[in-house]
């Protein structure tokens, strides 16, 4: 599991992020999120706002986003709520990164279905590139996190890299994706199995076979 404590509150951190403010586009998006809730309940919008702020930090740094303490404070001020309440949310959800990130955030699923389908080998692949769980690799390219089930068990094993899922991975396929990302390309997202489109049964359907070509009323057979 990643280190879930916030990056230390140093003068350098304060200097770099003390002046943080939403860009006009993000501000508009934040205000849209706030407007979803009744007046006086603006703090309900804490999650979208933290995420917008995290994305903006990532854009400013050219890395995956994360939340320095002054940015959390900015969001809390923006919503007129106690900072500790914002910090509670930021530390609770894994989608908020509390430490500086590499350019790409590699989140490999290690839950049972993925593990049975070979996620250990995916981690080995990552380690060989200098990644360590919860740390930024020396080249600044990667942050590796082991995550729990991402809901892609039918196409296990999988990894979520930045905002995209890459499924049906093997060490070679993951290597190819990471190479492409390192080269600044955008590899194909979703399943990497040739001939497979999404999460349809590999090797053809085994159930409801009568429905493959046309709709079929099974009710009379129950």
């Amino acid at each position: 599991m990643a280190d879930r404590s916030p990056a230390p509150d140093t003068p350098e951190l304060r200097q770099r992020w003390g002046g943080f403010a939403f860009t006009p586009a993000n501000k508009a998006e934040a205000d849209r999120a706030i407007a979803r809730y009744p007046q006086g309940r603006q703090r309900s919008a804490i999650m979208p706002l933290l995420f917008i702020a995290q994305r903006q930090v990532g854009e400013e740094l050219g890395t995956a986003g994360w939340l320095p303490l002054p940015v959390i404070e900015y969001v809390a001020r923006y919503l007129d709520m106690p900072v500790v309440r914002a910090l509670e949310v930021a530390t609770f959800y894994f989608m908020y990164n509390l430490q500086p990130m590499g350019r790409h955030h590699v989140q490999v699923c290690g839950t049972t279905p993925c593990m049975l389908r070979g996620s250990d080998a995916l981690f080995e692949t990552c380690y060989r590139r200098g990644m360590k769980k919860g740390q930024v690799s020396a080249d600044g390219l990667w942050s590796l996190t082991e995550v729990e089930c991402m809901g892609n068990c039918a196409t296990a094993p999988m990894a979520q890299i930045d905002d995209d899922n890459y499924e049906d991975l093997t060490p070679e396929r993951l290597d190819a994706i990471l190479d492409a990302l390192a080269a600044g390309q955008r590899p194909k997202t979703g399943t990497q199995e040739p001939g497979r489109h999404t999460s349809e049964p590999a090797g053809g359907p085994t159930t409801l076979t009568a429905m493959v070509d046309a709709n079929h009323d099974y009710r009379s057979e129950w």
Partner: protein, 668 residues
């Protein structure tokens, strides 16, 4: 009113009650950690599991389950027993076995409930988790490894104190209770989380490793740090008061206590006056009682003696002084040391008539010149409750950090005559409007204008009296009852140029106008009054004598002596009695019982504990004008009286929480 069956016993429970409350009504004890009567329901400790039919066939958390008609509740079934054992086992998985070095030992909910409801032994052999230390300020000591995440402290600071400072960061096993960036908790009731904490995670820092609960003698007392008169228990060992804890009294302090009331007690061991001093050749020098008494007699106090009562004295002390003065043919009694002058012809006009528990039902409140948060933190928590119930709160005076939304109307007391129409509309429409006049308001002459407003807004109506004066001194109401008020205030006393000034622990007054008087200080701390005195007679503090106190709402309460006064110090009334002998007058009592009897004969209101009937609220003098920029009398919440100024804990609080470090150096 639903009827439920608890262990075969039928009970009627009020609407909206929970299953836990139903069980308590039936006399069943339900173990709990997170549930607390005065906090919101969290339902996260799972210790209160019971079996409820109808419902899913599994144990249910009784604290968060509403009691409904026809429920069958079992608290004694095998399912409940194993459920409690299971929960207890989980709670103890990560709880260290450090009870022998834990300050909570002996008064720990977890310890007690593990004994009653836990399994005999642990089956857990893996490593326990450890949590790094969290700093929470000079009052709260934390050992967060012991925390069981009941979140009572989080809920207290959010709901009661109104200062969101404590939170639970992280999740699951890595959840930790902390303040933001481990800053000190900054509010006036912060130490109540120590009482709330069911385990030893939050303990008292000044009291750390000082004593065990079973070595302490417990004495019922009254807090003197403000005029609320919080009910406290003084825990003493030998001659030392080790700590003060709040007692439950829903009418006064619920079960909270301000940090000052709780932690000023270590000042009782510092800078005490424990011998007689007489000023000779400009310097205070040790002397005997006889020498001091002879010096007083030599000044010929007959007919020319004044008494000024300090903020911490009890009614008995003031009555003894009054008897002595009357016997000497003088009536120069005054208690309002700082020079306040207000009309005391009717005590109903200077009392907190709504009562402390009543003010939380007010729906519109106007505060005139009171920094309530510092002058009476316990009233502040009531006002916050009123706001939660929908009250609108307006304040006249300089801005201070309220813990509820309040509208500041202006700094000048004259605003009282020129209130915005919107404010007037709120009060005329209100069901239970209230005015609270503070000391700073009284100083600017706001009493009569406020009384006039009380007329306009009909503050007194069926079952409701919304006119309140919030005093700051524990002795004030008692002093007013005993006639410690001159029409001209303390200035009039000085103008009489008494040959002898009897100062009953008066530390906040200006002694310069009394330059020609022999200043006799009867008190317990070497503070401002003692510095100015010519003769110092060492007396007992509130912890060392029996006494009667009347709080700002006119509630008579009695305190008992917890320890003996140090050295030569004596209970104040015995000093008056001895002085009477030396001066050749009769005060009419020879024992404390006789003194109390004489006091009750003269002021029958003091006879029994409870609220005094102060009579009708008088009409305000419509021509009186309030004017002047209000300035609050308290500059430093933690250093308001002689005891807390001597207390190392209060000095540390002042330095650290209010940033008055220079004051700390001056005090050392």
């Amino acid at each position: 009113m639903p009827t439920v069956t608890v262990d075969g016993q039928q009970v009627d429970v009020p609407d909206g009650a929970t299953v836990l409350q139903a069980c308590e009504l039936a006399g069943k004890e339900i173990p709990r950690f997170c549930y607390h009567e005065r906090l919101s329901i969290a339902g996260n400790c799972r210790m209160c599991l019971v079996e409820v039919k109808p419902g899913p066939p599994k144990p249910q958390a009784s604290c968060a389950l509403p009691a409904t008609e026809g429920q069958e509740i079992r608290t004694d079934s095998l399912m409940v027993k194993t459920a409690r054992e299971g929960v207890m086992e989980f709670l103890l998985i990560n709880h260290p076995l450090d009870c022998p070095i834990c300050d909570q030992g002996g008064e720990c909910d977890l310890q007690d409930q593990a004994m009653f409801y836990g399994r005999g032994a642990s089956r857990y052999h893996e490593n326990k988790r450890a949590v790094s230390e969290k700093y929470m300020g000079p009052l709260i000591k934390t050992v967060m490894t012991r925390c069981i995440h009941c979140t009572r402290c989080v809920r207290f600071s959010e709901e009661i104190a109104g200062v969101d400072e404590i939170g639970a960061v992280g999740r699951g096993e890595s959840m930790e209770i902390t303040t933001y960036l481990e800053q000190a908790v900054r509010h006036e009731m912060s130490a109540n989380v120590i009482d709330l904490c069911p385990v030893g995670a939050l303990t008292s820092r000044p009291y750390a490793f000082e004593a065990r609960p079973w070595e302490l003698r417990k004495t019922l007392s009254i807090d003197v740090s403000d005029a609320v008169g919080a009910n406290i228990r003084l825990d003493s060992r030998g001659r030392e008061v080790m700590r003060a804890l709040p007692r439950v009294n829903d009418e006064v302090n619920e079960e909270w206590l301000s940090d000052k009331g709780r932690y000023q007690v270590d000042g009782l061991m510092h800078r005490r006056l424990d011998r007689v001093w007489v000023r000779k050749e400009g310097r205070l020098q040790p002397a005997s009682w006889e020498q001091a008494f002879a010096a007083i007699a030599a000044a010929d106090p007959r007919g020319s003696i004044a008494a000024v009562a300090g903020d911490l004295v009890d009614c008995e002390t003031m009555f003894a002084a009054r008897r002595l003065l009357r016997a000497l043919g003088s009536d120069l009694l005054e208690g309002r040391q700082t020079g306040l002058v207000y009309d005391t012809s009717s005590l109903a006009a200077v009392a907190f008539n709504s009562s402390l528990s009543g003010i939380e039902h007010a729906d519109a409140i106007l505060i005139v010149g009171s920094h309530v948060r510092w002058e009476a933190p316990l009233v502040q928590s009531r006002l916050r409750k009123a706001w939660k119930r929908g009250a609108r709160i307006f304040i006249i005076g300089p801005h201070w950090d309220t813990t509820y939304p309040a509208e500041f109307l202006g700094e000048d007391a004259a605003v009282l005559h020129d209130l915005p129409d919107a404010v007037g509309d709120v009060f005329t429409a209100a069901q239970r409007p209230a005015i609270i006049v503070g000391a700073a308001g009284l100083a600017k002459g706001a009493l009569h204008p406020a009384l006039a407003l009380a007329q306009d807004w009909t503050l007194v109506r069926d079952g409701w009296n919304g006119f309140n004066v919030l005093h700051m001194a524990a002795s004030r109401m008692g002093g007013l009852l005993l006639g410690f008020a001159q029409a001209g205030g303390i200035r009039a006393v000085a103008e009489e140029r008494p040959r002898v000034l009897l100062s009953l622990g008066a530390d906040e007054m200006d002694y310069k106008p009394f330059a020609g008087s022999l200043k006799v200080y009867v008190g317990h701390h070497g503070d401002r009054g003692a510095h100015a005195a010519d003769i110092i007679l060492p007396a007992a503090s509130y912890a060392e004598k029996d006494g009667t106190f009347v709080n700002t709402e006119g509630r008579v309460q009695t305190a008992e002596a917890a320890v003996f006064p140090p050295g030569d110090a004596r209970a104040d009334w015995t000093i008056m009695r001895a002085l009477a002998d030396v001066l050749g007058v009769d005060v009419g009592f020879d024992s404390f019982a006789e003194l109390r009897e004489a006091m009750i004969a003269e002021v029958p209101a003091l006879s029994s504990p409870g609220l005094i009937d102060l009579g009708e609220l008088p009409r305000g003098d419509g021509s009186a004008r309030a004017a002047g920029v209000i300035s609050y009398p308290i500059a430093d919440f933690y250093l308001t009286n002689a005891i807390c100024r001597a207390s190392p804990t209060m000095q540390r609080c002042s330095a650290e929480l209010l940033g008055n470090a220079d004051m700390l150096e001056a005090a050392e």
